[in-house]
């Protein structure tokens, strides 16, 4: 297409606001898909960065850094405690004959809890709750960042104990705009990457199916006879199975993965294109312009590709947009059943499936975000396809 006719095409396209809006939305999602790594605040594929403390947070809640933990061992001889190894900021002091005080030296950090372990018999920690079985005493929010170890009896000549100090959790500036899922994954990032995966799988699978199916359909229409019979009976055979069954069997044989899912979708969808393009081509082949082209001794491939195919394209493009949506849903169904994409690289459909189990516990945001995005994306793609169909047919225009 020359530059002038491209500009003309763009001008005609712009006449419809719905078309423009759907184009904008589709382009927005395409942009999201292409630049997901730059746009998303976190990398949802990096499992080492996930914190379970962030799991299932609702929309708009801030990220929380888990508290730090200090561990220290102390040896006590004749009532005097000495650090055993590195003890950090923890220090001990004597607070009487049968008493040892343990506290955090620095005043800036505040302890959330302080636990004293392995005390000998008869000793306890003031204001602490004891573990029901283990000799562990825990004080929450210790006053002055310290606790006192007291004993009913005189202190043993030599013993040791260990201390575990935890600092408080700290909310950060980072906000989970769309909440988090069960793994503590930022849903916004997951959605952006999900759009990327879904569009990639949908477009590539539906596109390959279109090329293969349309090619075979045109071949069947042109050759007729045995070629036609073989191709169309194969199509009938494929169409007699539900798409999900074909997808499942193929993935059961091939194993899971993005490439296998695409292969499965292509194998399911090529027959729609073959059937449609064959019937369209047959009706076009009956028209006199095809006879005229044959009378002009144009080669068969040229008649099919340049004369017949463009006249079939409007319907095939509509089928293509619909099949992108169908491919996305088939892929997510397969992912939902556990044979599609790996859990570490979730598509939109898989995110919806992941959130499905939490919907009844009012954790709606896990499914809601991806679902809304998927809905808007598919509606926009369909509207865009309709607009392109109208433009592609000069007779519908104006």
């Amino acid at each position: 297409m020359s530059r002038a006719s491209l500009a003309e095409f763009a001008g005609r396209f712009a006449e419809s606001r719905v078309g423009l809006a759907s184009l904008a939305v589709t382009l927005f999602f395409l942009f999201c898909a292409l630049f997901a790594p730059l746009l998303s605040p976190t990398d949802p594929y990096d499992l080492s960065r996930l914190e379970l403390i962030d799991a299932l947070k609702p929309m708009g809640s801030p990220q929380v850094l888990p508290g730090e933990e200090f561990r220290a061992n102390f040896a006590v001889t004749d009532g005097v405690a000495t650090p055993d190894g590195d003890v950090g900021d923890l220090a001990t002091a004597s607070c009487g004959e049968r008493c040892i005080a343990v506290r955090l030296a620095s005043a800036e950090t505040e302890l959330a809890s302080l636990q004293v372990r392995s005390l000998p018999k008869g000793m306890s920690v003031e204001g602490a709750s004891k573990h029901p079985v283990q000799p562990w005493w825990t004080v929450n929010d210790p006053e002055g960042n310290g606790v006192r170890i007291v004993s009913d009896e005189p202190l043993p000549a030599a013993f040791s104990f260990s201390v575990i100090a935890k600092t408080a959790e700290q909310p950060t500036d980072f906000v989970f705009v769309a909440g988090t899922d069960a793994f503590g994954r930022d849903m916004l990032s997951a959605i952006l990457y999900g759009i990327r995966i879904s569009i990639f799988v949908g477009v590539l699978a539906a596109g390959s199916a279109m090329v293969i199916g349309t090619g075979l359909g045109l071949l069947a229409a042109w050759r007729g006879g045995v070629t036609d019979a073989v191709i169309m009976r194969t199509v009938d055979f494929m169409l007699s199975f539900p798409a999900i069954l074909v997808g499942l069997s193929i993935l059961a044989i091939l194993g899971s993965g993005v490439d296998k899912v695409i292969m499965a979708v292509v194998l399911v969808q090529w027959c729609y294109y073959a059937r449609t393009s064959r019937s369209l081509a047959l009706s076009e082949l009956n028209k006199e312009y095809v006879e005229a082209a044959r009378c002009l001794r144009l080669p068969a491939w040229r008649i099919m590709l340049r004369h017949v195919l463009p006249n079939c394209m409007p319907q095939i493009i509509v089928l293509f947009t619909l099949n992108i949506a169908a491919a996305i849903s088939l892929e997510s169904s397969l992912s939902f059943l556990g044979v599609g994409l790996p859990l570490t690289q979730p598509s939109l459909g898989m995110l919806i499936a992941n959130g499905y189990e939490f919907i009844f516990s009012q954790k709606y945001w896990i499914s809601f975000g991806p679902g809304l995005v998927l809905l808007v994306m598919i509606v926009a793609m369909n509207l865009l396809g309709d607009r392109l169909r109208d433009l592609n047919n000069p007779r519908f225009d104006r």
Binding site: K287, E291, A292, L296, L298, H307
Partner: protein, 331 residues
């Protein structure tokens, strides 16, 4: 005698109606012949240099099938076609030469690809086959458009932007663009308004005069045929029943069918005429009457008309017909 541009000898086209596999199997088991349609049945005709041959007949008599066989779009089931003495097999194999026979179609709507611009429709074959160098193709298309009376700016427009008559001009330009020797016009004006018909007819006659190409003009309109053609072949149910020079045929028709056709032709005259329609319907080509196809409707039919097939016989130089009762029908 100079060699004719095109020659058909005993050309036939047999169609087998589409049947299910079961039906075919049943036919084969019962030893039945599957029903065949002889759309064109052993037609012999020729066109010489610069001549216009008219082919006239009712709907369904095989005119269009014959046209497509002449144009080399349909294969023949029997007989042979020759272009300047060369058999069609080798003629059609050389794509560049096969362009010498071109066709103008009936329906100006469906005979132009709606997705191609007029310039592409006209110039595509000429560029592809190297009739004109690619660099000059645009200028050549404009020239061709001018030749058929279309403005140069038509080149960048789509067929749907034109009226029926203009579209037919595009169709003629498409055929002319590859410089043919023989133009087959299959009901080329039947779909047009009468006023537009006249323009297209004049255009065709001008083109013929300018370039001296031969033409086969197929129509059911006797007036047009008379106006345009040098010789006329009358077809009935796939067979040529009479073939003569236009003047001879219209003044002295010998075959009963031709006589009846001409009697039904509207004429401007003050005399009261008795109008006699041809009795009966045109029979189904699936089960044509035996012998002479016309005998059930023929006023002059005798007994042997239903048993013997009449062959074309020459009555006078250049005037042949296929009737067993030659003497009877001569008036």
């Amino acid at each position: 005698m100079t060699q004719p541009v095109f020659e058909a000898r005993d050309v036939s086209r047999i169609f087998e109606p589409a049947q299910g596999a079961l039906q075919r199997l049943g036919d084969r088991l019962a030893g039945r012949q599957p029903p065949l349609v002889r759309a064109v049945d052993r037609v012999t005709l020729s066109v010489s240099e610069g001549e216009t041959l008219g082919i006239v007949g009712e709907s369904g008599c095989g005119k269009s099938t014959l046209a497509r066989m002449i144009a080399g779009i349909l294969p023949v089931s029997g007989g042979e076609r020759r272009y300047r003495g060369e058999g069609y097999d080798s003629f059609l194999a050389r794509k560049r030469d096969a362009l010498k026979v071109q066709m103008v179609f009936q329906d100006p709507m469906s005979s132009l690809n709606p997705r191609l611009k007029v310039g592409e429709i006209i110039g595509e074959a000429a560029a592809l086959h190297g009739v004109v160098p690619r660099a000059q193709i645009r200028r050549y298309v404009v020239e061709t458009l001018n030749r058929v009376g279309l403005p140069a700016d038509a080149i960048d427009r789509y067929p749907h932007e034109f009226s029926g008559g203009q579209r037919q001009r595009v169709g003629i330009a498409r055929a002319l663009a590859v410089k043919p020797d023989l133009l087959v016009c299959d009901e080329a004006v039947a779909a047009l308004d009468v006023s537009v018909q006249a323009q297209i007819i004049n255009l065709l006659m001008d083109i013929k005069q300018d370039s001296g190409l031969s033409m086969i003009f197929i129509s059911h309109d006797l007036g047009l045929i008379r106006h345009l053609c040098d010789r006329v072949a009358v077809m009935y149910l796939g067979r040529v029943v009479e073939l003569a020079g236009t003047e001879e045929l219209f003044s002295n028709p010998t075959h009963p069918y031709t006589q009846m056709l001409l009697a039904g032709m509207p004429q401007i005259s003050l005399k009261r005429r008795t109008f006699m329609p041809i009795k009966g319907e045109i029979p189904s080509p699936l089960a044509p009457p035996p012998g002479c196809h016309f005998h059930p409707r023929c006023l002059a039919a005798t007994d042997h008309c239903s048993t013997r097939r009449p062959e074309l016989v020459e009555l006078a130089p250049g005037h042949t017909h296929a009737c067993l009762n030659a003497g009877l029908t001569r008036n």
